[in-house]
């Protein structure tokens, strides 16, 4: 058991590529390795026993059966090899995730041949992942989402992969270690605590904040960018929807600003990053404008997916 694990590790190191490749990787003959499986050794041992039996009892047809099965094993080896030969793999990145989640790397798998590829299993080169089985129809392109677990924040590059197949007989396993390029941004693992209190700033002006906090200043026609929260539903109800929707505008008062500050967070570096990440997510979900202040840089208050992404990216890559 221990020996086979050592052997497996040694083989993985031996067959693993040195660096990732960009573009399309075509599995040619030199990339595909093949070895008998445990079932293959069982088969071999059975054939050997059968041969001894056939010799001992002088069974001519027993010899023939053993030889037919031996031929079958050899032919099966070629078929297993061919099951991977010529597959084209193009790697790409994955949507950003938070640490601890699975990053789903996108792989474009192309089977250019006239025959389908049955039972190809995806895993990483060290085989820590549970294999993901895939059947590729003939002349078909498939987008595969390969889930890779994440641990820390920062860039996660796609590890060297392992594409293996035992089809058709399971006596041999052919495998290749393609290493397509692809990376995924991993945000810090969020640690949810209450948002810091908004601070008043001196600036005044038209500002649409949370309802009931500022003075009502009037109505205007709704524009597509307006939040549905500010629609004057009472006014709409009054005129039975015959006029365009109106939104309430508020004026006066100080504009509240939410600063997610490195100093406001507590704990060591990673803890602070986790807290800030959670704040960014909360503030975005609440529809607030927020700014992010890190020791070396800051991002002025704003809202929206792009802003959130910028902030989270900064948190993910901070001091890496």
């Amino acid at each position: 058991m221990l020996l086979s694990r050592h052997l497996g590790r040694w083989l993985a190191r031996l067959t693993q590529p040195r660096q990732p490749e960009s573009g399309c990787i075509r599995l040619n003959r030199r990339r595909i390795y093949i070895l008998p499986t445990r079932a293959g050794f069982l088969y071999l041992a059975t054939l050997f026993t059968m041969l001894l039996g056939a010799i001992n009892y002088d069974l001519a047809l027993g010899h023939a059966l053993v030889f037919l099965l031996a031929g079958l094993g050899l032919v099966g080896m070629l078929h297993t090899h061919r099951n991977l030969l010529g597959i084209e793999i193009t790697g790409s990145g994955a949507e950003p995730v938070t640490a601890g989640e699975f990053a789903h790397f996108q792989l474009l798998i192309h089977n250019p041949d006239q025959r389908p590829r049955t039972s190809c299993a995806w895993s990483d080169a060290r085989q820590t992942l549970a294999p993901l089985e895939q059947h590729l129809p003939a002349q078909h392109q498939t987008l595969l989402l390969l889930p890779i677990p994440t641990q820390g924040r920062g860039w996660l590059t796609l590890p060297p992969l392992r594409l293996s197949s035992r089809y058709p007989l399971g006596l041999f396993e052919a495998w290749a270690n393609p290493w397509p390029q692809g990376r995924c941004l991993v945000y810090p693992r969020p640690h949810f605590t209450p948002l810091p209190i908004e601070q008043q700033t001196g600036t005044t002006g038209n500002y649409q904040g949370r309802e009931g906090q500022e003075d009502f200043a009037g109505l205007r026609e709704r524009q597509p960018a307006d939040s549905p929260r500010h629609i004057a539903w009472k006014a709409v109800a009054r005129d039975m929807g015959s006029r365009p929707l109106l939104v309430k505008i508020f004026s006066g008062g100080a504009r509240p600003e939410l600063w997610l500050d490195w100093e406001a967070a507590q704990g060591d570096l990673e803890q602070r990053l986790s807290q800030l990440t959670a704040w960014v997510m909360d503030a975005e979900a609440a529809g607030l404008e927020y700014g992010l202040r890190l020791p070396d840089r800051h991002w002025p208050p704003a809202r929206g997916a792009a802003h959130q992404q910028r902030c989270l990216e900064a948190l993910a890559l901070y001091s890496l």
């Binding site: 088969y43 039996g53 070629l78 058709p168 399971g170």
Partner: protein, 652 residues
Amino acid sequence: MSHPPLALHHGHIPWLLLVALLTTLPHSRYQPLWLSAVTGLILLGVAWQWRQGYRAARGWLKTLLVMAGCAGIVVHYHTLFGRDAGVAMLMLFMALKLLELKHRRDAIVLITLGYFLLLTHYFYSQSIPTGLWLLFSTFVITAALIHLHGDAAAPPRTSLRLSGKLLLQALPFMVVLYLLFPRISGPLWGLPQDAHAGRTGLSDTMSPGSISNLAQSGEIALRAYFNGPVPARKVLYWRGPVLDTYDGQTWTTAMVRRFSPPPLVPLGPGLSYSLTLEAHNQRWLLPLEMPTMLPSQKDMEARMDGNGVVQAKSVLRSRQRLDFTSTPQYRLGITTAPTVLRRNLQLPADFNPRAQALAQEWQKRHALPADRVNAALNYFRNENFVYTLRPPPLGHHAMDDFLFNTRRGFCEHYASAFVILMRAAGVPARIVTGYQGGEINPVDGFLVVRQSDAHAWAEVWLEGQGWVRVDPTAAISPARIEAGITWALPEGEGLPVLANVRQDWLKSLQNRWEAVNNRWNQLVLGYNPERQREFLARLGFPDPDWKTMGMALGISMGTLLLILAAWMFRPVPETDRARAIWRQAIKRLERRGITCPPWETPLALARRMEQEAPELAPALQHLAELVCAARYHPVSPKMEALRLALQQLPRR
């Protein structure tokens, strides 16, 4: 690194059931009924359970079944080992494995067991139908193995087709291995006692009824192929064991093997023929009387013992082809030691007093031993003796009973009675058993001798002539010797089996089938170390050693593998011919140092060439338009036009 073992899919169970059924079903012919019943019940139970949603059986149930099954086998066979008990165990395990299918590896174990069980069928038969049935089973088992590793949702057709393809591709490997794999003559170790059970043939003892029992079987005992005309039927005496010791009931052979062979003087020309003996589990060979040249094969040492019986060095465990030369006219043992002659005069004193009295009377009346022989034959001829397969039972003085009361008997009765009479009359005599006659199969010209041709005759020793064959059966029923047993038996006493068929159409069908079987036996089953050496010698490797054979095998297997790989991995021709032509055009451009990125469309490339290579532009523009038309225009241009356009482009 390690992941939980792969679970088995619900759709795999019927395949595994089929594997179990195919591999155990033929064994039900040879195994005890209860075992077949248990196997069948388990199969049915699993099939029923599968419809409800398969679950592996509980541990205690499996333990109970294993213990009960093993106990049953021990009670039936008195052992767990040996050939038949071993097969029974495998059958039991096959059925029980069906009760614990959880993971893929369980299924793999079951399928491997299935392959192994296939081999055990050959213990009982290696005929053509068995071979075909097992080929079919291999096909299905392999399909099950493929299905196990493939797409569980795929239809069975996919697995079956691939299985057939793989087996077809494996056939050449099988042929090469069959021909070149160094053959070893078995057995490698001591065989269990039941290894060759259930083979019929002559025995080394004879008592009333033993040969008539054998004669009911239509099984083939031997085949002979004469290099020349087949001799007359009445000289076709195939000499088996000689029996010279009588205890009042049973004839046996004294241990005379240490004696050197008796002097043999051939009086006529030799007949050379090859004899294909079915395995009979004994050492004697059955040549035509009397062999002057014994087979000289490497793996077959044969010599003649003191009784003139040809004995092999070891027991015949498999069908053997042997070359002999015999001569029907001979003098055997003119000089025979007095001790031997004395032994051939011995009779138990207190048996058959009436026969002994009759013989002593002949001895007084005839001075010449030859006359005493004739007196006995005349006695058989003139009294009312009947040749029959179903003689009545005989009493304590069996031969007295036969000679004076019942007078109905088969050849062993006549031979036995005759020898007793001769010994009592002072003429050394003994019984020879073997086969008499045989039938030519017109399809392949082989002479076929069956168990129903089993026969017993006598030899008497006469001064100056040596051992002379006397067949008392011929005195009673000349047809037995001239025409065969079918014509010698009374009406209504036909042989129960196809042993000897009188109908013509049936006979010709039987002849054809047996000729096919003979070819099969000679070419396929008879391929032993000796035949392999002959085959290799014909290929140009006379007397090869292990190294040569291993090399020949390795080279041919490697070549086959390379051929198959080259065929399997051949580049697939481009199916889109327009694209193939466009690729050639690109190749020509690239030879001139023009880079053509894969995303550039034909028309865009042609337009770019107007600047970069104006001399090529018109031809390329024309070709690009044709390629696009072939792709998108409702009426495709002719491929000929595309090929012409390609020719306009310079090759380099």
